[in-house]
């Protein structure tokens, strides 16, 4: 069954059209990779799905579990299971990571009409996950992403993904700025979250990441459209031949 259906999506930023009728369907449990050259609109797509202000949708629709996603406020989308792992996670000085995790988790649970986690349950859960991701406890006491290395910031994103258990995870350029060891830890964390109910959208410029997170479907984006879709072998093809062929096709 389709978890996410994007139909003929047209998006403008400051009067300029960036996405020109993008169509994409993602089934539950599948991992889709979106590849494409810089400026092709990958981040724009992820922002529109998450509901970042500043984007004007001029046409098309997005259905999430059959519901009109564009009609929901961004925090409502988060509570319904949309998670975006940012390419550049922001720093929030003075807000301890632990406090942030708890505030966010409880906000989502409250929005879904669920009870808040008790402190011991919450702590237990966070400890478990952070151990798997090799996140030291003292990192959780520091301000959100403040003074974190690139790898630590990405791991913190995966930590939140594991904690919130979203049904749709969008990873925007998770590999950027990571060395191979850091990449492996983050990718292992993501792979551990693969499940028949959870879909993922892995956005990347390079094929490298897809050696660690092996996708079911690969899409190529160019100039605001999906121009080709295929199996995981499409990524290898691209690695060999580059994006130039699609630039013309678009």
């Amino acid at each position: 069954m389709a978890l996410l259906e994007i139909k003929n999506l047209q998006v403008r930023v400051e009067e300029r059209e960036i996405l020109h009728g993008l169509t994409l369907t993602i089934d539950a449990g599948k991992v889709h990779a979106i590849m494409g050259p810089n400026g092709s609109g990958k981040s724009t797509l992820s922002h529109v799905i998450a509901g970042k202000p500043g984007y004007e949708v001029t046409g098309g629709e997005i259905l999430f579990k059959g519901e009109d996603l564009l009609a929901m406020a961004p925090d409502e989308r988060a509570a319904k299971g949309v998670f975006l792992a940012f390419q550049y996670p922001v720093e929030i000085p003075g807000v301890a990571t632990m406090t942030f995790l708890r505030t966010a988790l409880n906000a989502q649970r409250k929005a879904r009409g669920e009870e808040e986690y008790s402190t011991p349950d919450f702590l237990k859960k966070v400890r478990e996950i952070s151990k798997q991701l090799s996140i030291p406890q003292d990192m959780l006491k520091r301000g959100v992403n403040v003074g974190f290395s690139g790898g630590e910031k990405k791991r913190n994103e995966v930590l939140q993904m594991a904690l919130f258990q979203p049904s749709l995870c969008i990873l925007d350029e998770m590999d950027s700025g990571l060395d191979i060891d850091a990449l492996r830890i983050a990718a292992d964390g993501v792979n551990a979250l693969r499940s028949p109910e959870r879909s993922m959208v892995v956005i990347t410029h390079y094929q490298r990441l897809l050696n660690y997170i092996v996708p079911d479907v690969v899409h190529v984006m160019s100039k605001g459209r999906v121009v080709k879709s295929g199996g995981k072998e499409l990524a290898h093809e691209l690695e060999a031949s580059g994006y130039a062929q699609f630039e013309d096709a678009a």
């Binding site: 961004p74 925090d75 975006l84 922001v90 000085p93 003075g94 807000v95 942030f100 989502q108 939140q160």
Partner: protein, 498 residues
Amino acid sequence: MPAVQETVDRVRRIDVDQYRYGFETVIESEKAPKGLSEDTIRYISGKKNEPDWMLQWRLEAYRRWLTMQEPTWARVDYPKIDFQDLYYYSAPKPKKQLSSIDEIDPEILKTYEKLGIPLREVAILEGVEPVPGAGSPETRKIAVDAVFDSVSVATTFKEELKKAGVIFMPISEAIREHPELVQKYLGTVVPTSDNFYATLNSAVFSDGSFVYVPPGVRCPMELSTYFRINERNTGQFERTLIIADKGAYVSYLEGCTAPQRDENQLHAAVVELVAHDDAEIKYSTVQNWYPGNSEGVGGIYNFVTKRGDCRGNNSKISWTQVETGSAITWKYPSCILRGDNSRGEFYSIAISNGYQQVDSGTKMIHLGKNTTSRIISKGIAAGRSQNTYRGLVTAHRKATNARNFTACDSLLIGDKCGAHTVPYIEAKNSSATFEHEATTSKISEDVLFYCVQRGLSQEEAVGLVVNGFVKDVLQQLPMEFAVEAQKLISISLEGSVG
């Protein structure tokens, strides 16, 4: 910048109209005749059964005040105050001397209950939301003095404090019971001639708290005073005097609220602190006077003079303030670092929203040798408010090795508000080391979206980011009040409760 715009709109809509403490209490009261004259002062002094020296002190201040002009240098703007159109004294009936808390008008007790202030001695403030990883919350006793309009209505834990030798009582009582202490210290930090509002206060002050901690005593609990203005057209003029004798320690907190009113109300308090050799006074304020409505109508004019005198060697005075209320705030808690090796600290959070105007800061006056001071100021401006930090740091000729560190950070929410930093620095001694840092930033759209993507509402996100911004200062508050202050900060920016 749509996200920021959205925040701005939201903050504008909600803000101050949802002032949580805006209820009025219906009780009978007894007032002085309207207006100010020597007769008004004689009336107040008479009501309090004051000795003649006190009356003469007041009258002298009044005559001085008649010759003074209202200051105009602050960055605040308000219509001229008609000082003859105010009541200077209002006391809840009955007038008979209260001997126990049970004799207090139940309506007043209810008021304090609504404010969440425990006046019964059994009341122990139960800690706080447990911090992840922390042990069980500490429970501590807090002694409270509650001031309603012009009089103190209850002081708790008096007996227990007495055992420790600590005097904590309404200043009106101290004038009668400990005249030698009051006479020795009153007006020695803020002289009656100090400034327009302080002089007015000296003439008409009605009540407030008096604290004396004897040599070598560490006050066994937090002391706290809650002020509430209830009566219409009534000015509130409290006077607080705190003395820590040699080697003593005391931590004191004041909280303030007022009902919603269309007209402006005047509040002109004076606080004097004296720390002798090796003594320490920690003074915290959570100020939440009614700020006026979203159109800028009503609200308290808060013109306050607070000053601490580090009179002895190795003494320390620390001011911490969380200012979220008042239509106009004019307030500069200061330290005179007279004793050698003395230390002054000022930690401030000032939040303005709606049409609030804040002009606040501190003065650190280094007179003794090896004196140090530290200033951490966090200003947050939203709505159409104006938020000014004004600070003075001086080292006198004999203040060798004076050191100051100042950090002033301002955060703007929206583009119709203003933040201003006005530092004055004077070093008459070449060995002084003064450091000053200042930043101004806008609340970041990307940070807000990050929070919202993780499930926080826009308003919760603003509250969280602002609380992070002010964390260094919040940490200076006693733990119970830090939580209260944190909530207050979110409320004053969000308006939506629960």
